[in-house]
Symmetry: C2
Subunit: 214 residues, 2 copies
């Protein structure tokens, strides 16, 4: 399970999945070639995430797709996930590493070069960087759009672990994120809210490959 | 660390501690003879609870007082707590037992006889039962006050693990909870919001011993 191999990264949110279960969206995204799935499901309780996570572990394991759990090391261990994704207000990366051991994948959300260097030094395997373009729920004016891409480029320069852009990324605007040096892109609604999550994943994968090849 | 030895059980909530840190309240409660502390701190993020929990582990360990963590098995492991307390919407008791091993103390909140029997069968070491009297933030009419005590008595009859009453318990109304068969009482604001948490803990301890002796 090597984050350097990931290009398309899906973050789940059943409440943004058009009435479908995350299991359905993830199954379609896997058919579309998604590389890794993060169980996030903000605003839900731990029991629900444990149950949903157990379902997602089955379909991801069958297809060799990575599964990470947002925030909760204990849920990750309980469902035999490949690792966790931690934010700046979650338990520290080094503490999660102690609990999970050297083989787990640990990612960390960073929005400054200082946070990025700290996360790498603490043992993170990859970084999530954003918001690259703002998010669909929080529109960023056109003239500010450069900022997120510059941040990606600065952090890619500052660390040696893979960087994934996140925040408002679509198939259309994904190529510049790769050109800025990101290894791949993470999305929520671009896949979860798509009428056809499989096609949306393929389109994202094609856009990322285009950006990566330039 | 045997829950049968606990009579006074403090659940922390810094936001209900009159501007004091939970560390200060817990230190005073320990001086007053509290038997076990649960790190709860509803509405705070995991990093904050991890940091506060590390502080509480120091003072509780020095005095041989038990320390449990609400909901989070990973934070309990990270701060070397004695166990966890789980609600009905947290990860299942059996899953927590797998992660923590046989020596950890695992408690479970239950408000029906069915839940209580299930928690015991799943490996819980003790039960929290309530709300016995409602809580200070949710007043229960006088005529309904019997219900909580009856629930405690029914659950005590149905299981063989220790039961702790919770919800609106004060030094004044604690004795009937013990008379109903509870091993002890759990409180938040009766200690955290007290002008003198040490004295409040002593008063609660005295009330529990009175109820226990009848």
């Amino acid at each position: 399970m090597n984050p350097r191999d990931w290009q398309t990264y899906l973050v789940t949110q059943e409440s943004l999945s058009g009435g479908r279960r995350s299991l359905e969206v993830v199954t379609e995204a896997i058919a579309g070639g998604v590389d890794v799935v993060q169980l996030r499901e903000k605003g839900t309780d731990a029991r629900w995430r444990y149950e949903r996570g157990s379902e997602l572990r089955e379909v991801t394991a069958e297809s060799g797709v990575g599964l990470l759990v947002n925030d909760r090391v204990d849920i990750a261990q309980a469902i035999d996930a490949d690792g966790v994704h931690l934010g700046q207000s979650d338990i520290p990366v080094a503490v999660a590493r102690d609990l999970l051991g050297p083989d787990a994948v640990i990612g960390c959300s960073t929005s400054t070069v200082t946070e990025a260097r700290e996360a790498e030094a603490a043992g993170a395997d990859y970084l999530g960087v954003g918001a690259v373009y703002g998010t669909s729920s929080k529109d960023v004016p056109e003239e500010q759009n450069g900022t997120g891409l510059e941040l990606v480029a600065e952090i890619v320069d500052a660390v040696s672990i893979p960087v994934f852009g996140i925040g408002g990324i679509t198939a259309e605007n994904a190529p510049p994120v790769l050109e800025a040096g990101a290894t791949g892109v993470a999305v929520i609604s671009e896949i979860t809210a798509a009428e056809d999550p499989e096609a949306a994943t393929r389109a994202l994968e094609a856009a990322v490959s285009e950006g990566d090849g330039r």
